[in-house]
């Protein structure tokens, strides 16, 4: 009976250790997930995709000017974020 109890305890400890190990591995993988670094030399918006000449990565003032030129009669107020 005592032998059975010892074996059960050993199994429980083994499973607990395995669970902690798995959690640590998962956390390590999460920590290792990289935040993307800006390319050396910066980003050239003109090389990124566009809609009607409006490119991703374009500074706010330039983008707003482009929208105004595309839609000069719009009644909306396009103001660059302050």
């Amino acid at each position: 009976m005592q032998k059975f109890a010892t074996k059960t305890l050993a199994l429980i400890l083994f499973l607990a250790a395995a669970n902690i190990s798995a959690q640590r591995t998962a956390f390590a993988q999460a920590v290792a997930t990289p935040v993307p670094v800006e390319p050396a030399g910066g980003i050239d918006p003109s090389k990124l995709p566009d809609v009607q000449g409006l490119y991703l990565g374009t500074p706010a003032d330039v983008a707003v000017a482009r929208v105004k030129s595309l839609y000069p009669n719009t009644s909306r107020n396009f103001s660059p974020p302050s």
Partner: protein, 173 residues
């Protein structure tokens, strides 16, 4: 169009254009798909028969690894950058911690640039086209910078509050 927020330079990180076909002038699916492929690349990922997607890195090369058909979040991906105003980037006012950052990364449709075209097709004709493009990497970097800025400001405000409290007289006990 959505811009990223300060303190980083504010740039366009989200663009969306919707085009509705005029009555009797709707083009065929093949014509629109061909035009899209000419504009964004010959081999889009087909999330659905009428949803085409392209992925690029920030140097306009192919994104590796590119999200595949089963990848969630791509057709309905959202920016972290605010579309109106913002007081915090996190789900609450607590500082950003690793699990939430991991969530941010997971809910992005690839850590680069995405272009998703959703076509509304009826009887083989395209009645409407939504083209959405996002700069996910820039959006994430700017959101992180913004969150750190907010946390720093909150910390300073709290410290100021403590300083003010230390100058208060003890009420009569």
């Amino acid at each position: 169009m959505t811009f990223s927020a300060p303190p980083n330079k504010q740039v366009a990180v989200y663009l969306k254009r919707t085009v509705h076909s005029e009555q009797g002038k709707a083009p065929t699916f093949d014509v629109v798909a061909s035009a899209l492929k000419q504009e964004y690349g010959a081999n889009p990922v087909m999330f659905q028969p009428t949803v085409l997607a392209w992925f690029f890195n920030e140097s306009s090369g192919p994104l590796v690894p590119a999200p595949q058909k089963g990848q969630p979040f791509c057709p309905n991906s959202q920016t972290w950058s605010p579309n109106h105003s913002i007081s915090t980037y996190t789900a609450n006012t607590m500082p950003l911690e690793q699990p939430e950052l991991t969530h941010w990364l997971k809910t992005k449709c690839g850590m680069g640039i995405t272009v998703v075209a959703e076509l509304t097709v009826s009887g083989g004709l395209v009645m409407g086209t939504n083209v959405t493009m996002m700069e996910n990497a820039e959006d994430l970097r700017d959101a992180l910078a913004g969150e750190l800025y907010i946390e720093k400001a909150n910390k300073a405000a709290k410290q100021q509050q403590m300083n003010d409290a230390q100058g208060q007289k003890v009420p009569k006990l």
